[in-house]
């Protein structure tokens, strides 16, 4: 009986044109939380899919409690007691939350499915994850946060020896993250081993017992968490040191607001949102999941019909009925759901990059491929998109690299108002800095940047002003130099508290 519940030894995994893993190691003790970190495209998800039998390794062995195992499909790994929360949401949009949670693990009574029991259990487990919702509802009607929790509920429900979580917090707000960490500690207490993937270092430091770092598909190093610090961790994963995680730079605040929103109304979601955004500044949007930040931006961008309210750009009232008009008015909107709303997964990087502004790459009606490739290569270099070529199908990039493609797309849209909804979701620390630098250069160029983020450090690190939302209303607006510009007060506002003065 080995000391490890699961052990992976010198695994190799090849994809057409890509070596995703070369002699990879990983081992997890029962009742420990192992952090796994690495740059985008380092091979974390691949490593995980090898452990769960989604991919079969070209070389290498997997041991579960000392016995050598070969997993032909996820069933076999589940049977061996390995559960997994995959990086990408895998929701059955049309089926109820219950169906989603019990997919292929249905509870039966007398040969037939026992829905009463399943609904009950589903409600319980979702509640234990802090989501009080009706499990009969189709999962597709909920936002990403809830859907992420459904995925976690799936894994928690089966009694596993080891649970793997691939970036579970990337689409969660503060509150959900807290809930999740609590859940993890409970599982750990029950002697279950947990692999926890995240690009948020503070989460790893807070939660994990040991942290494994991988780079370019290779195992780099595993240490106890106390033996790591920010710099050593970053150096290990990006192979160089990063002096500053939030390289904030300041632009020239425009005299007049570039974007002004008055009393924005949308049935059931937005109840009179007002705010102003200035050029040369980053306006942060803080709030809990479901606060209405995304909906606000969708409304401004013309993605959803609004029921009332005014929008001014450069002091001129504009009526924006659809995204095309928004873009023509110089607005760019990087959505929070890259898979569903950001990318055409089946198309190449080349095509996705020009999606938002084909005009710019045209001579007359014809596309200028030369121009497209040049600017494409530039983005791949400046954003460090890890890909074999510009003609790679976006669907096959790693999660973080997909996110970078979306950013590239909007940089091409030559807008002067940039709305970033969770722009660093699923991006590694190195790449985050690159994204921040992009924002910096935008504000330096006098552009107006709006950044929705559920990561408090990011909000505090990068914003010039912060709008705090709750329940479809603006609770507070905090300037960088105000005394309220700190985690406590902003969270207080997000929870519905009021800030004096």
């Amino acid at each position: 009986m080995s000391e490890y519940v699961v052990e992976l030894k010198n695994a190799v995994k090849l994809f057409p044109g890509v070596v995703a893993l070369k002699n990879m190691h990983l081992n997890v003790k029962p009742g420990e939380i192992l952090g796994l970190i690495g740059e985008n495209g380092a091979g974390k998800s691949t490593l995980i899919k090898v452990l769960t039998g989604v991919h079969q390794p070209d070389e290498g062995e997997i041991y579960v409690e000392g016995q050598l195992k070969k997993f032909k499909d996820p069933n076999e790994s589940a049977a061996a007691g390995i559960a997994c929360v995959y990086q990408e949401l895998n929701i059955e949009p049309l089926l109820s939350i219950t169906d989603n949670i019990f997919i292929n693990k249905w509870i039966k009574k007398g040969g037939l499915l026992d829905y009463p029991t399943m609904h009950k259990k589903a409600k319980e487990v979702m509640a234990s994850l802090g989501q009080d919702i009706d499990p009969h509802k189709p999962a597709g009607t909920f936002g990403m946060g809830v859907q992420q929790m459904i995925e976690i509920a799936k894994a928690v429900l089966i009694d596993a020896k080891m649970i793997i979580m691939d970036e579970p917090t990337s689409s969660l707000g503060e509150k959900e993250v807290e809930q999740l960490m609590k859940t993890c500690r409970d599982l750990k207490a029950r002697g279950i081993g947990i692999v926890f993937v995240s690009h948020k270092l503070e989460e790893l430091f807070e939660l994990c017992d040991r942290v494994t770092v991988i780079r370019d598909g290779e195992f780099i190093e595993t240490r106890d968490t106390k033996d790591w610090d920010n710099d050593s961790l970053i150096t290990a994963m990006v192979g160089r040191s990063l002096d500053n995680q939030f390289p904030k730079e300041f632009g020239q605040k425009s005299a007049e607001p570039v974007l002004k929103v008055e009393n924005l109304q949308e049935g059931g979601v937005l109840f009179g949102v007002d705010f102003e955004a200035y050029g040369g500044q980053i306006l942060g949007f803080a709030g809990l999941v479901g606060a209405g930040r995304t909906e606000t931006m969708r409304a401004i961008f013309g993605a959803d019909p609004i029921d009332g309210g005014k929008v001014y750009i450069h002091g001129k009232e504009v009526s924006i009925k659809n995204p095309r008009q928004a873009i023509n008015n110089g607005i760019a909107f990087l959505t929070e759901d890259r898979k569903g709303q950001g990318l055409v997964l089946a198309q190449t990087i080349r095509t996705n990059l020009i999606l938002a502004n084909m005009k710019r790459f045209c001579n007359g009606p014809f596309l200028n491929e030369k121009k497209i490739v040049e600017s494409g290569q530039e983005h791949i270099k400046s954003l460090r998109i890890k890909t074999p070529s510009i003609d790679e199908i976006v669907g096959q990039l790693s999660g973080g690299n997909q996110q970078k493609v979306v950013i590239g797309k909007w940089l091409n849209a030559d807008a002067d108002i940039f709305i970033f909804d969770e722009p660093t979701r699923g991006i590694d620390v190195g790449a985050k800095v690159e994204v921040y630098n992009v924002m910096n250069s935008l504000v330096k160029a006098g552009k107006c940047v709006i950044m929705i983020s559920s990561e408090m450090p990011e909000i505090l690190g990068m914003s010039d002003r912060v709008v705090v939302m709750r329940g479809g209303k603006v609770m507070a607006t905090v300037d960088r130099d105000s005394k309220h510009f700190n985690q406590e007060d902003i969270m207080k506002a997000a929870w519905g508290g009021t800030l004096d003065g």
Partner: protein, 333 residues
């Protein structure tokens, strides 16, 4: 997608809009033709619906998996011709044997459709089943050497021909079948897996559902349904004719399922809805004959109704969605 997700269903999963369409249709016909509501006529509507009712079940399963089954009609006719061949070539005149042969053959063909899709990794069943449709059409003609066969024994005719108090046996069977399948789709593991595979194949795969087997099952089952339909039509018309294989049975079935709320994107569709779809088409065709419409008018009206039925449903949904948003807005005030 969002709008389809919020789709409100009646208890058993039939969309009210389509049900309304059926009712409206019946009212119109009842007014237009005195014979419409007469008992015998309603019975013949049931008889006329039966064939489509059978093939639609198989079609529905395939549609739920985001697939399609274009060979259902040809398969049915082929099975019917197979029975004819046994008789024609004097191999047997035992009705039971004929029926068994037909059922086995139809199921086997369904299995082949399934394997083509899952084992040979054809991109979409449209192609394989379209090919199969042509193959079966040819085969149906070959086995009967392009002749019409008649004079089937009573035992064969029983399923398609007999009734209790005017109520066709076969339709009683249909009703039972639909109830059983409703339970199957809503209350069994395999049934749910079918929706999962159709709604999000990747999710199904990652949760360890063996998509390949689920798909193969659906197409095999569809084959069985087609075979039963073949046996039925043989008994009903008393003859078999390979040339009938080109009839657009498949489009009738697809129309029934779609009108009943199924979607090409998969993951949607119910037995109750499909039954309504089948009835809408059956009632229409019956109306045509009662009012002796000519082909031109028949197609014109059929086409319009198909569009309208779905239109009604969609509009209803969107109005509902709007109403909900407004309600939410006010409640928030």
């Amino acid at each position: 997608m969002a709008k389809t997700m919020t789709k409100k269903k009646g208890g058993n999963g039939v969309s009210l809009g389509t049900l309304a369409a059926l009712v409206v249709l019946c009212v119109i016909l009842a007014i237009a033709s005195p014979n419409f509501l007469n008992y015998n006529n309603i019975m013949s509507i049931f008889k006329q619906c039966t064939f489509n009712a059978f093939v639609s079940v198989g079609m529905l399963l395939c549609l739920i998996t985001a697939g399609i089954e274009l060979s259902v009609g040809a398969n049915a006719i082929f099975c019917s011709c197979l029975m004819g061949m046994l008789l024609q070539k004097g191999i047997t005149d035992n009705g039971v044997v004929m029926v068994i042969v037909a059922l086995v053959a139809g199921t086997a063909i369904g299995l082949i459709n399934g394997l083509l899709l899952t084992r040979l990794h054809l991109p979409h069943p449209f192609v394989s089943t379209l090919g199969m449709k042509n193959v079966l059409w040819g085969a149906a003609l070959l086995v009967t050497s392009s002749q019409i066969v008649s004079g089937f024994p009573e035992t064969t005719a029983w399923f398609g021909g007999s009734d209790v108090g005017g109520f066709p046996i076969a339709f009683i069977f249909v009703i039972i079948l639909y109830i059983v399948m409703h339970i199957f789709l809503t209350k069994t593991t395999l049934g749910r897996s079918i929706y999962c595979v159709g709604g999000n194949p990747e999710a199904a795969r990652l949760s360890g559902i063996n998509s390949a087997n689920v798909l193969t099952f659906c197409y095999t089952f569809s084959g069985l349904m087609a075979a039963i339909a073949g046996v039925y039509t043989t008994g009903r018309s008393g003859i078999c004719n390979g040339a009938a294989a080109i009839q657009p049975y498949d489009t009738d079935a697809i129309a029934a399922c779609i009108i009943g709320g199924a979607s090409f994107m998969g993951g949607k569709g119910t037995m109750a809805g499909t039954m309504v779809g089948v009835l809408i088409i059956g009632v229409l065709r019956n109306g045509f004959t009662l009012l002796s419409f000519d082909t031109a008018l028949q197609n014109l009206v059929l086409g319009l109704v198909i569009i309208l039925a779905v239109l009604m449903d969609v509009t209803r949904e969107r109005m509902e969605a709007k109403a909900r948003r407004m309600a939410a807005a006010n409640s928030a005030k």
